[in-house]
């Protein structure tokens, strides 16, 4: 057993930490306020090699492990959770299924573009009538010989509108549905019949665009089927197992960012002629925040390490995701409390962290779904 980071992992942490401070932090509040995605920041992330951390070098990646990847998401989210989720979706939700299920040609075309960051990726599973229960999916794909025709729509698509490559799921056999009737496709934004629908107005992660995507007789070439015909549900679920590690890392970063800010503020804010940090009530809040963050970090790194070692990680990633996201919500709420009235204003960043934290309990499987996944593992033998 050894809980120390490797030199590579320490190096990437330093690289991303510096990048986040210098390139992301200066505009974070403004982009939140304006609900503005920054292609410039994305391109800079691509430039320093963050878009393909765990993918092999032959596909344009950095050839590093999943721990290095979750560290990158954590460090970005420590400053700006919107930028953190952009990378998480790019890697875990768009890149991963192509890496795991794609043909060699798909990997050379699409995974490489995602890893090098020349293209932005997204993932389309959720529909108005099917969130957690993907079995209620209505988007259809009909076989037309040399191509497929997709009809339907997907909602809550992170990176929607700015993405070039979408991994989407559609019903190919209405009789079978989740038991072999759903298929995954790689859809380019330029395909005929693809369009971007309404953009969501959200409580948080506002500089990460979330949109509807619409398929209206959308033509998808035969070779863009991802994985086997009918394996889509499996592709979707396995992708989410790993995606949970990314969101756990995002939540972890949000929580750590809120603790960093709370420590700074508690040291300098004076009341009753002494810094807040002298009061035990504040000290105990800080201690609990730090302890829970440490536990969340260990759970998250463990899940990512298991994935890197090709060991089972579904239960571990569900535990990491539910734990880290609840810690993020609690820690950010306490941070606003420590800042008092100032914490409630947009002059200070902690209210943004609290708004951003909430989504980590909801997307890529709600906390309730994570508990279902965990309980299934616990009770299965």
């Amino acid at each position: 057993m050894n809980f120390q980071l490797t030199q590579d992992q320490l190096d990437i942490r330093k690289l991303v930490r510096d990048f986040a401070l210098n390139e992301v932090l200066p505009t974070a509040a403004e982009r939140d306020e304006n609900e503005e995605f920054s292609r410039e920041i994305f391109d800079k992330m691509a430039e320093i090699g963050l878009c393909g951390i765990p993918w092999p070098e032959e596909y344009g990646g950095a050839g590093m492990d999943f721990v290095s990847y979750v560290i990158a998401v954590e460090e970005l989210s420590r400053i700006d959770a919107s930028v953190g989720v952009t990378l998480s979706v790019q890697t875990s939700l768009a890149g991963w299924p192509i890496y795991a299920f794609g043909t060699e040609e798909q990997k050379q075309t699409y995974l490489r573009a995602l890893a090098e960051g020349t293209k932005i990726g997204a993932y389309g599973l959720t529909e108005p009538g099917s969130g957690t229960d993907a079995g209620g999916m209505r988007t259809t794909a009909v076989d037309k010989g040399d191509h497929w025709v997709l009809n339907g729509s997907k909602i809550f698509i992170t990176n929607g509108g700015v993405a070039d490559i979408y991994v989407v799921f559609a019903v190919t056999d209405p009789e079978k549905r989740t038991r072999g009737g759903v298929t995954a496709f790689i859809v380019e934004s330029s395909f005929p019949g693809f369009s971007v629908g309404k953009k969501e107005k959200k409580m948080g992660i506002k500089s990460s665009p979330t949109t509807e995507i619409v398929f209206e007789n959308c033509i998808v070439p035969k070779e863009n089927v991802l994985g086997q015909l009918g394996d889509g549900f499996k592709v979707a679920m396995m992708t989410l197992d790993g995606g949970r590690n990314g969101i756990a890392a995002q939540a972890l970063g949000i929580a750590q960012g809120a603790l960093d800010l709370s420590l700074d503020y508690a040291r300098q804010r004076e009341q009753f002629k002494q810094p807040l940090s002298n009061f035990q009530a504040i000290q105990f809040k800080l201690a609990d925040m730090a302890t829970e963050i440490e536990a969340a970090r260990l759970l998250t790194y463990q899940a990512a390490w298991l994935e890197s070692e090709k060991l089972p990680y579904s239960q571990a990633s569900a535990m990491a995701k539910v734990f880290a996201s609840e810690v993020a919500m609690k820690t950010t709420t306490e941070a606003v409390q420590i800042y008092g009235g100032y914490g409630y204003t947009r002059e200070y960043p902690v209210e943004r962290f609290m708004r951003d934290a909430k989504i980590t309990q909801i997307y890529e499987g709600t906390s309730e779904v994570q508990r279902m996944v965990i309980a299934r593992h616990l009770l299965k033998d």
């Binding site: 057993m1 000290q283 302890t291």
Partner: protein
């Protein structure tokens, strides 16, 4: 990074797990009910080497790593938290201070016998009015020729009922505060030293918790441990290790409660199906298991850091208080899942819940642990 145990650690774990299952689990309820210190069982553990896991082989120990020792406490506590704390106190604070600070003669005389279980060790620091604030102890030691005369009393001394030797702290120079405290190795038959009242406790029965009374106790100067004035340093020297040990104990208790609850909900039928089918029950189990996993990682992290000689006071305190809070919450939920049966002594979960409570209190209350963590956070 590597989240898996080494082969040696897995072997040790298997050995301890088998012993706990065969020798301890069958008598755990009885130890709790009778509140009798399990002397024969502890001697047997000594014979197997369990009492000297981190002690070097030259002193009769096993010479295993600190993680293995932590795993041992966890596994023993899974079967009986009382046996877990008996071992932890005997080794961490009854033996290690002598190994680390004793003269050659003291080490010769005591360490091997402690490591093999010929002697049982205890530790006397806490007093009626000196708990978390250990520097305010009042027991006095006055040097008279080749003897220190000790007066005062110590309370809440685990193993004290049967222990043969006691590592005891007394003030040798009241002017110097914490720097005026010295440590002594006190043998049970020391004139003027006696065992006072036995505590009747909520849980952790059978661990022999007593008061120690010093009434002009005659302790030879050869029994001074370390230098005069080094007592507080000695008392605090294994603080991190002790806290990790109690974290491991809490983890063992929590795991036992979780396993019992999981087995129970699978067979208990209500409304025509096992209660494990109900989501309200499933979510409780999921939360229990997740907290246990978080506690385990915090404890193993602190133990590996300590093993590697890295500073780990923050991590040890985090592990201790998180694991013991988790143990309290998990055992309480286990009683809840058992319903009325859980409240009955027919089932073990009420014992787990009673045993869990003290892990939030001893070896530094969880409030003290938070003070330690906060100090570490704010000093940077």
């Amino acid at each position: 990074m590597d989240f898996l145990l080494t082969q040696d650690q897995r072997d040790m774990l298997q050995m301890v797990r088998d012993f706990a299952k065969n020798e301890i689990a069958p008598v755990a309820a009885e130890i709790d009910r009778t509140d009798e210190f399990p002397v024969a069982l502890v001697k047997k553990m000594g014979g197997l080497g369990l009492l000297g896991i981190p002690i070097p082989e030259e002193y009769g120990g096993v010479g295993a790593d600190y993680v293995s020792y932590t795993l041992t406490i966890e596994e023993l506590s899974y079967a009986s938290a009382s046996v877990g704390v008996i071992l932890a106190v005997h080794t961490s604070v009854g033996t290690m201070p002598i190994l680390n600070f004793g003269t050659d003669a003291q080490k010769e005389k005591y360490v091997e016998k402690l490591a093999t279980g010929e002697l049982i060790g205890a530790f006397g620091l806490t007093e009626p009015s000196a708990g978390s604030d250990a520097s305010s102890i009042r027991t006095r030691a006055v040097k008279q020729g080749d003897t220190y005369v000790l007066n005062g009393s110590k309370v809440f001394i685990t193993n004290g009922e049967v222990a043969d030797i006691f590592v005891v702290f007394a003030v040798t120079d009241p002017e110097l505060g914490a720097k005026g405290v010295s440590a002594f190795i006190v043998e049970r038959d020391t004139p003027g030293f006696s065992i006072g009242k036995k505590e009747h406790k909520m849980g952790m029965n059978g661990s022999g918790t007593v008061e120690l009374v010093f009434d002009n106790a005659q302790v030879p100067t050869t029994q001074l441990l370390g230098q005069e004035g080094e007592g507080f340093k000695i008392a605090m020297s294994n603080l991190d290790g002790g806290r990790i040990g109690i974290g491991a104990q809490a983890l063992g208790i929590a795991r036992a409660a979780y396993d019992a609850a999981r087995d129970y909900v699978k067979q208990r039928q209500q409304f025509g199906r096992p209660i494990a089918d109900f989501q309200g029950v499933q979510f409780m189990l999921a939360d229990m298991a997740t907290k246990i996993e978080a506690a385990r990682l915090l404890i193993y992290q602190a133990a590996t850091m300590r093993q590697a000689g890295l500073p780990c006071s923050k991590q040890a305190s985090m592990a201790k208080y998180y694991a013991s809070d988790a143990a309290m919450s998990v055992t309480t939920d286990a009683v809840q899942l058992f319903g009325g049966y859980g409240y009955s002594k027919e089932y073990p979960v009420e014992r787990f819940m009673r045993d869990a409570k003290v892990t939030q209190i001893y070896e530094g209350t969880n409030q003290i642990q938070r003070v330690v963590v906060a100090k570490n956070l704010l000093k940077g």
